[in-house]
Symmetry: C2
Subunit: 364 residues, 2 copies
């Protein structure tokens, strides 16, 4: 049986190995494995979230509230936007997918930075669109603008801050760029790590209400997977003018978010103290990696996220290092496949960072 021919171009996404398999492959105990490869909040969500999950475990047979009544109301207040300017997804991944499916079609171009979140390519390919990247790995707005003029993309992605590198454009630069983009091109602003950037540097802060009110063609996305410690729960959101979201809502499958995920997100939003503590901790602990790598004579990318990219000189091969760390039960991201001799490490708990830094000290 033949399927749609544009699928031929798509390479199937292959998931990373689960911890259990790594444990088997490397003869480790799963408890001893430190996973700092996927930028999860290492402390997990607020204890109030865990309490909510336990309390609500008894009602998982009931379908979720597909209107997201309460969560939508809370989020609308938080961002001072209208309820019809919010849509929820199975992770912000799904908002990316819905936006691309609504806007792009076979043969269209979708424009991104040279090295950015993998989901943009997956979403573009899933509708048979072409992914166009800048030569610069980080977001270079001049280059993005040149490509925009040349390739006439239907969607442009800005990842602010950028995963997997950690860099972040200033919001006023972004605004200047957006002013030059025609109103028929959808600009998707991915704010998965935006709270980390805002906390570190006000110049990176995006006021979502202001953003969507100034730019009719922008769809913003946020997630509960990073700051809020709900990576396993698959819940994120999109914010845009309601006339744009109408198109996304038409493609949104009913019941796309699990009921426990909705309750967890609600609880997570209620515990601001917990979040602020994590934001502070993240920066404090990141400094340890910065100081360490400089002391070793190597460099790092100034990060506005909860991960940091460490870059080596020729005396170190990042793949060898990543493999050596893996043998010791430490999972980080080797950047060599992106042409970078470096590794990306999620900022862990103090204890996890102690262990990682001790091992790096031995290996570098």
């Amino acid at each position: 049986m033949k399927f749609n021919s544009y699928l031929n171009k798509i390479k199937e996404y292959v998931a990373g190995k689960p911890i259990e398999q790594i444990a088997r492959d490397y003869q480790l105990n799963t408890k001893d494995i430190i996973k700092l490869g996927s930028n999860e909040n290492p402390y997990g969500p607020s204890p109030k979230v865990i309490q909510t999950l336990k309390q609500n475990s008894n009602s998982v047979h009931m379908y979720p509230d597909d209107s997201f009544y309460e969560l939508k109301s809370v989020l609308a207040k938080k961002f001072d936007v209208n309820e019809n300017e919010i849509i929820f997804g199975c992770g912000s991944d799904q908002i990316i997918e819905l936006a691309v499916r609504a806007k792009a079609k076979i043969g269209d171009n979708v424009l991104t930075a040279g090295l950015t979140f993998a989901m943009y390519k997956i979403a573009a390919q899933s509708v048979g669109a072409n992914l166009i990247k800048t030569d610069s790995l980080i977001h270079n707005l001049d280059e993005l603008y040149t490509k925009y003029k040349k390739d006439n993309p239907s969607v442009i992605f800005l990842c602010l801050p950028n995963n997997p590198i950690g860099d972040c454009l200033d919001t006023d630069e972004v605004y200047s760029f957006l002013e030059k983009i025609d109103s028929e091109t959808l600009v998707f602003v991915d704010g998965a790590y935006q709270e980390f950037a805002s906390y570190k540097d006000k110049k990176k802060h995006i006021d979502i209400k202001d953003l969507i009110n100034r730019f009719d063609n922008v769809v913003y996305s946020g997630t509960f997977s990073k700051l809020y410690g709900l990576g396993g729960m698959r819940i994120g959101y999109g914010i845009s003018k309601s006339k744009n979201l109408k198109a996304l809502y038409k493609l949104r499958p009913p019941f796309n978010v699990a009921s426990l995920s909705i309750s967890a997100a609600l609880s997570a939003l209620e515990d601001e103290d917990y979040i602020n503590e994590y934001l502070k901790h993240n920066l404090d602990q990141m400094k340890r990696y910065e100081d360490f790598i400089v002391s070793k004579g190597y460099s790092f990318v100034d990060s506005y996220t909860n991960f940091i990219q460490l870059e080596f000189k020729e005396d170190i091969n990042s793949s060898v290092l990543a493999s050596e760390l893996m043998k010791r039960g430490i999972i980080i991201r080797d950047m060599s496949s992106y042409g970078i001799n470096g590794i990306r490490i999620t900022i862990g708990t103090s204890l996890q960072n102690d262990i990682v830094l001790k091992n790096l000290d031995e290996l570098l």
Copy 2:
């Protein structure tokens, strides 16, 4: 900003009211509301599932195992199929969506029975395909075949048993039909309620391994939402030849199922006694509705599911009845919008059924 023009034809899906809103609208206490409108397992999942959820609440910050390593292995054994013949979705809804997106394109036809699961239309429209229905509300294979020859659909849906009516074709009839369908047409066999049908009548039983081995063009789907009591967890599966699933995997978004949902499904599969007890209870309780409605001089559709359609004569208006039940805190499905003067009731717990039957007795 304009979106893909085929979206203009799509009417946005509007979710049913959440219980909380019904409580507000009708000045009821949420605890007093009996929701028998969405065919959830009224007893919820096995207590072992709830235990698992509570135990795993602490690790929701970690991304799910996107390889579904353990669950895939268990399900492959259960159905005696290969692991690469299984794909998981955010409910079996997502399997429906992926199959349609992989196979159908703008302007294609998608063929279904006259009255069947709403998701088929949503999926067809989401790629700009046309939904073609038989005049018969229930599955009429002759009519489906005639439409197939005339309209050359790229996808045909068979819902076995059929939601929302409850009827079910015999498997040998289905096989005879499948033999007449060309190998380039994808036939999607939706088995969301299949376990209920198999339990009641062996002639309705589908051997999934046999089905996909005989028919290269079939994609089967199952769910944990109904029998297993996990409607809120959003997890279902698709089973087909691996060469078909390769196409679906290309469109499957990474991390499409929450980690707790995967654990819950695993636990649910382990407790077969619980499931068998529910299957027996469901049939016993259904008999109460059958006997009741006949005693009142009305009729019912012989159901192979966990719900039953009661049909009235002209002296009863199903919308008025549904509205009256709602005022009393009982949510069922009025079938009048489908041209049927009847209501669909999910078979509840014994206690729920006592209350529903008492109220129906007063109103009929």
